[in-house]
Each structure stands twice: as C-alpha cells, then as structure tokens.
C-alpha cells in the first residue's frame, strides 16, 4: 500500500472540495420511473385520497369567505405564544392491522405522534407510539419545516401556527367533529417541491398542498386535521389531541433516547439447511420444508452493516447477520414466492427485518403494500405489479418478516413458523 505525501494529499483535498451530506432519493426513484408516495404524519400513513371520506370533506367544498378574523385570532390565542409547539396527534394506520394468528382476530392499529418543535432552532423531538408502545423516538433538526416539504406532524404544526399568525388561515365552514361543534379553517396553500400528485394518479403540476383544521367552537383548539393535495383530501384525517405552545424550559427537547439505526447489505451467500444453526445467535425459525404448496428453494445468509445514521453516513458500523428463506422462488420478492427474513430481535440486526419493533408477543402486524415496477418485457415502467402482503412478528428471540403475494399465503407461512 502506498501513501501520498501530505502536500499532494492536501492538494487533492482542495482540488475537489467535499460535498455536503445531502441526498434526494425521491429524485432517484422518479428518474427510475418508480412512483413515490408521500408521507404524512407517520411512516405508513400512505396517502389514499380516494378512500378518504370524512366530515371534513364538505368543508373544502365551501367557498372562501375568510372574513372572520376573530375566529383566527382566538385559535391563535388557544395555541399560545410560547417558543416551542407541543402537538399530539392520533390516527388509525391504513392498510395495517394487528392480528392474533391463533384466533384470527384483527384490530386496527392506532398511532399517536407526540411532537415538540422549537420553531426558531428547528429542533424537533418526535415520539411515535403504536397502541401505546413507543415505536420510535427521534430528535432531529430541520431547516424549514414547511408543510409542503416535510409532510409531517411537525410541518403541520408550524404551518398551522404561522398561518394563524399571518392571517392566512380562513374560515371555510362549520360542522361537527366527534359530536363537537367546530369551525373549519383552511390554511394558505403552498406549492409542493415533490411530484406529490403522482400518489393519487394525477399528473397535473404544480401540486398544491393545504390543510383544513377543525377548531373547537368553544375552546378554539385544533381537534382534527385533513391534509389536501390539489384541493382533495390527502391521506386520512388525523385527530389532534393536543396543540399548545410552551417555554423551552417546559419542553421535552432532550437528547434522543433511542437511536435510529439502519442496515445495509454487505452481501448474501446461499447456505445449506445444515448450516442454518450457526447463522443467528438464537435458533432459527422456518415454515417447514414446504408451505402453501411451495418448497423451500433457497436459504441465504445475509451479511449486514448496521449503525446509527448521522449526517448521512452510518456511524460506528457493526456487522450483523440475518437469514432469508425463500419458498417457491430463488430470489426475494419473486412473483408467487414466499420470503421469510429473520434476525435476532435483541440485536440491531433486527432493523434489517423491520424498521420498527414487532407487536406484542402472540400478535402479528399485517399490512398490504402496492408494488410498482417495470413490466416483464421491460418496455413500461411504473406498472402496478400487484399487492404484497407482509407479516411482522416477534417470536423466540427473533424478529421475523414474512412476505407473500396473497393474504392467504402470508398467513399460512406465518402460522407455520416453528424452530428449525
């Protein structure tokens, strides 16, 4: 190995200066012809505008009147003058349920997001709870949490307060939400910086983002939010449980308690069934030699690089391992195949299996995702390939993800899981 002298090294450093740690993955996907989906208020809050039918729907049909500044002022007074916004929202995750595999009982998954936003410094502390359990807890800094760019609870909160302060929120109607009389306020529309309309199958541009907020007629506190994309409901309506401001001393802007980690594949290699026992730190699970009429075709040992993400890089990376079992196919995600991915739940390796922990023991998280991609001939992109069903569960010290192309198959494989 040779080394450059310090002078040449310094010259090279100056020759091409380092780039900022920034990235635009959405742009990559768009260039690849893959349709992207916006997020609003949570990881799995996929915009399904066509399915949303709430009482708020009537509100945006009403014409602007925007004359009752008194309502806006009182809503602003209810928010308060503190430098830190504290907002708690609740929503039912769409397309995801909690399933008892033994009884078949399914229940909706309720996600609560508690957010503290220091608007001046851009520090945001976000705690996401699913059915009461903390799923993520992150502290990060955002340059400008505008609603059109972030599609997050924090963005909504900042935009709502600013709209009230600037008189850019206008009353567009009255009604009831959960039995409470409310005013509907529409926030000033902003232009999106991403091609968001693709998520609803539209191609018009530019895209216009706004939101309607239901404000309690007695307390003038926000009680429900409905985001709008190009004037139509965008994503599910979100209950606003709390919206207030506080001093910095009274805010929870403490350093993050759980660190977001990511897993990167460092390569995979096929192994025989006899070698599986040495791969994970706990005994592996499988669905038998065949499941749903599909034989076990391949087993892969997945080498992982795991670490906390800081400034766009994986800091302090460690090595991890996961196991992939492929039924009825020889590569993950192949049409008609069933894939089982598992890793020790006590290790960060589990992040490769699922970004969030599994549900409580005995339960499984079931969700459906629409998959887009190129057609078989490669002549068309952005084609809907089908619906992939995913089960995530925790069992015997392992976090397990099962993927299949039908609900029946994914449940059959999840129910068949047992020690290898």
């Amino acid at each position: 190995m040779t080394a450059l002298d310090a002078d040449t090294r310094a010259s090279l450093d100056r020759f091409v200066l380092p780039f900022e740690e920034s990235f635009d993955w959405t742009d990559v996907l768009e260039r690849a012809g893959i349709r992207t989906r916006p997020r609003f208020g949570g990881r799995r809050t996929v915009a399904l505008a066509g399915l949303v039918a709430t009482a708020l729907f009537v509100a945006f049909l009403l014409p602007w009147n925007g004359r009752d500044r008194g309502i806006v002022d009182r809503a602003l007074a209810a928010v308060g003058p503190g430098p830190v916004i504290h907002v708690v929202t609740r929503q039912v995750l769409q397309g995801t349920t909690e399933l008892d595999l033994s009884t078949g009982r399914e229940a909706p998954i309720v996600q609560e997001t508690e957010t503290w936003i220091d608007d001046e410094s851009g520090v945001v502390h976000e705690i996401v709870r699913v059915n009461g359990d903390v799923r993520s807890d992150s502290l990060h800094r955002v340059a400008e949490p505008a609603i059109a760019d972030a599609h997050s609870t924090a963005a909504f909160a900042v935009d709502y307060r600013r709209s009230l302060e600037r008189g850019e929120a206008k009353q567009v109607g009255e009604g009831t939400v959960a039995g409470r009389p409310v005013y509907f306020l529409k926030l000033r529309p902003t232009q999106s910086t991403e091609p968001l309309a693709d998520a609803t199958g539209e191609s018009s541009q530019p895209d216009e983002i706004s939101a309607i907020v239901a404000v309690d007629r007695e307390t003038f506190r926000a009680v429900r939010l409905q985001a709008l994309l190009n004037g139509r409901p965008w994503g599910p309506s979100i209950d606003v449980l709390q919206f207030e401001t506080t001093s910095r001393a009274g805010a929870d802007l403490t350093p993050v308690r759980t660190t977001a980690v990511t897993g990167i594949s460092a390569g995979s290699s096929p192994i025989s069934i006899d070698q599986v026992g040495n791969v994970l730190s706990v005994p592996a699970l499988w669905a038998g030699s065949s499941v749903a009429a599909r034989p076990l075709n391949e087993i892969y040992r997945q080498a992982l690089v795991i670490g906390a993400v800081a400034n766009g890089r994986v800091a302090n990376p460690t090595h991890g391992t996961a196991l992939e079992l492929l039924y009825g196919a020889d590569q993950p995600g192949a049409p008609d195949g069933i894939t089982i991915v598992e890793a020790a739940s006590a290790r960060p390796d589990a992040n490769w299996v699922s970004e969030t922990p599994g549900p409580k023991p005995g339960l499984a998280e079931l969700r459906a995702e629409t998959v887009f991609g190129s057609n078989a001939a490669g002549t068309a992109q952005d084609v809907k390939l089908g619906t992939k069903w995913i089960v995530v569960l925790e069992r015997s010290g392992l976090l397990v993800r099962v993927e299949a192309w039908s609900r029946e198959d994914v449940l059959a494989a999840a129910r068949a899981l047992r020690p290898l």
């Binding site: 020759f15 200066l17 780039f19 990235f23 990559v28 990167i264 995979s268 096929p270």
Partner: protein, 159 residues
Amino acid sequence: MKQGAGLREIEGVYRARAAEFRRVAAAIVGDRERALDVVQEAFAAAVGRRSTFRGDAPLEAWLWRIVVNLARNDLRERRPMPPSTEETTNGAVEPHDARLAVALLSLTERQRLVVFLRHYADLDYRTIAETLDVSEGTVGATLNTAHRALRTALEEVTK
C-alpha cells in the same frame, strides 16, 4: 450467489455514501453540478437494473462501477475542457492547486480513477479492483505508479 439487489439496499448505500459518489464523479467530469446529475442518473440506472446485480461482488462496488462508467461517458459525450491551470468556469471544479491539475493530466485515465476512488471515496483495493474490473495487484501497482507520477509532475511544475 444471490441475484438482484433490493431497493432498500441501494438506498442504504446511496444515503450512506452520496457525498463520496458525488466527489468522485466531480473529479471525473470536472463539474460539480454535472456530478450531482451523474450520481442521480447512475442510481436511477442502478434501481432500474437492480435485478441484474449478480451478487458475486459487494453491492457498493457494483454501484461504484455504474457511477464511474456514467461519469466517464458523460465526460466523453460532453467533451469538456480539461481542468485549466489559468481559468475557472462558473460551476466547474476549481483547480485550487494548478500544479495538481497539471499533474493529474499527466496520468492515464486508469491512474486518475484509482487515485480518485482511493482518495475521495476511501475505497479499499478490493473494492477499487471490483469497480474497475482489474485485479487487486493492478490497483496497488497503478496507485504506486500514480503516486510516483504525481510527485514527479508536481516537482517538475514547481521547478
């Protein structure tokens, strides 16, 4: 070996190493703005071709190969001026050290690529070898030659 790379795997490498990919691309094409575009296009191409990833080399090396090839093609197609010792253009990589620009021009393309991948991306010999489709021994020898040539060229320029 596994066939195909996952979107999430590609995204992971992109998010972890975007700055380095851009820096190497900028060194090759000589323009920071074009480098941004080249890297975006390269990853879009990787996403589109992900099913062809054979898995017989690390995913990152496969991605580096795509980025480097696209940057080289971009350079050829656009036929830019080489880094100048006398002038800079708006948005171009500024030759902060004119001596180095001259010295780099004295290298072969392979030597330059090895230096860029080693210095700007901190890649090990194996990954450089897999990226450029040469042996590890060739990488070591090329890097040795390049370093020697750089030193010589720099000394000659300063005489």
